[in-house]
Every structure is written in C-alpha cells, then in structure tokens.
Amino acid sequence: MLSSLHKQLLNDFQQDLPLSATPYQDVADSLGVAEDEVLDAFKELQDQQFIARIGSVIAPNLIGTSSLVAMSVPENHLQSVAEIINQYPEVNHNYERDNRFNLWFVLVAKDSESLQQVMADMELQTGYKMLYLPLLADYFINLGFELDFDD
C-alpha cells in the first residue's frame, strides 16, 4: 500500500527535485520528515516499479534522430510482423493500437540516412509499407503527470 509520504513523493516532485547538493534532505525538509525516510520511501517506490527513475527528461532528437512509424498489418500477421520489428535494436515503444494502422513504434538511429535504411529494410522484411511520421514541432512543456489517488 502507498503511504501518504509515497503519494507526496510521487505527485509533488515530478517537475523538479530541488536542484541542490542535498536534494533528498530538501525534499524531507519541505515535507517535515527525515532524509532517511525520504530515501527509504523512494527506494521502495523504485523496487516496486511505481517509479521508472528519478532523473531527467530531455528534449526530443537530442540523441540521434528519431521518428514515429506506423504500419497497417492484417490481424493474423500482426504478431509475426511485431516480432520481426522488435528484432531491430532501433525500435522503441512498439504498440498495437485499435486502428487500421495498428502497429506503432519509434525508431531511433544515429542520423536520418540510417533511419531511412532501417525503414527500407523493414518494409522488405515484412512486406508492408510504413508511414514515416517524424517530429516537426513539440508543443509540450513537460510538467509531469498529476496522479489521482482517490480510487
């Protein structure tokens, strides 16, 4: 079960952990608890995978080049095509979605030339065409995600 300390740590420190030499002490001070309690609670949240990490979220396309890609695959081929796609190390966040374009993933490569090569190879290996949907503009200011613990 999540304690009220767990919930505060999950909700109140997504945007920014205090930027100081002792961020966990600062968090503890702001909540009126001891630093050890904060460190233990964060460890528990991490061990139970409620937290992916305490770390940075960086602007897109800072490391290499990436693009969203979509494919329209007949239902009976979806599993096998997804397995082929997954074998490429360039593939991240590969999801089935409920649409005629039912397979969606993000490709990350060192430059746009290698990205195009990977896509051409994928089309050859799977026999299906792809939609190339690179980022043109990012409107989102990432303020974290407001969690609702009421139910």
Binding site: L62, L131, L143
Partner: protein, 169 residues
C-alpha cells in the same frame, strides 16, 4: 550547443540520480568534476531547455493508468502552433506534437497523448479538450493502445555510448 562532458552528464541523469545523501558527488566523481561544477552544468542545461525536467518519472501503468490514447487531428498549418500550445496546457495531456500529413490515407498534423485509468475517463477528458480548444471542426481519430510489444530498445543505449565517443573524439 553542448560539450562532451555535458552529454555524459545527461546520460548519467537519464539513468537516474543515485538515492544517496549527496547524489551529485557520485556523478561528479564519474565525470572528474566537482559537485559544484555538476550543479552549475545541470542548472545551465535546464535553463537551455535541453533538460525538460529533472524529477520523479512515474510508471503510469503500474499506478493504474492503463488506458492510453493517441489522438490525431487534421489542423490547418496556419492554426497549428496556437492550438498545439493550447492543447498542451491541459494536465491530462502527456505529449503534443506536429507531424507531417501522409496524403489521404493519413491526413493528420497534430498528435497528442492522453493517459487515464480507463477508456471512459480518457474519452471524457478528450471531449473536454475538443470543446475547450475548438477542435470539433477538424477531422480526427482516437487510437487506444492494446498490447505493448516492446518498450526501450538496445540502440537508444548504444547510441548514447557512441555519442560519448564522438563527443570525446
């Protein structure tokens, strides 16, 4: 814009801040910097917008937010940045991007992501978004995620290492 040392710093921050009393001291040791130098670099990277945030990254699915919808709209180019800015101000919107249209088969230009505890909540939030931002007039599709085939791939990590070599060399 950023030097090799800051790139390595970002890699370490992407892996996660150590859960110890003086986390930046540990990072500083790995980069042969002082704790102060690391803090100054982090502040600068945040100021430049390279680090969008530095804090708790939650696992939505594990916390019960199992419904995830990608919503796409065909918004005219002349309105897209204004509408994109408006859409991204809603706290249930997780991402908001412009992407190129792909002819008649996929004529959408604005993409946003909504996470919720179930489909019903997500659809209610979407209705609210459509009304508030005046999106009724634009063609749209809602794509809920079904199964996840893969999360983070090996190349992302490999590229981070490779970038380090390039930056250093």
């Amino acid at each position: 814009m950023i030097d090799g040392v800051s790139r390595q710093l970002i890699e370490l921050l992407q892996q996660g801040l150590p859960l110890v009393s003086r986390p930046y001291t540990e990072i500083a040791k790995k980069l042969h910097l002082t704790e102060d130098e690391v803090l100054i670099r982090v502040a600068k990277l945040k100021q430049q917008g390279i680090i969008k945030r530095l804090g708790v990254v939650v696992n939505h699915r594990r916390l019960g937010y199992k419904a995830n919808a990608m919503v796409v709209f065909d918004v005219p180019d002349s309105l897209i940045s204004q509408i994109g800015d408006h859409v991204s101000q809603f706290n249930f919107v997780n991402l908001c991007y412009q992407r190129p249209r792909q002819g008649d088969q996929w004529p959408y230009s604005l993409y946003c992501m909504i996470h919720g505890k179930n489909k019903e909540t997500v659809l209610k939030q979407l209705d609210h978004l459509i009304e508030s931002c005046g999106l009724q007039q634009f063609k749209r599709e809602v794509l809920f995620s079904k199964q996840c085939f893969k999360q983070r791939g090996a190349l992302y990590q490999a590229l981070e290492k490779q970038q380090k070599v390039i930056s250093n060399g």
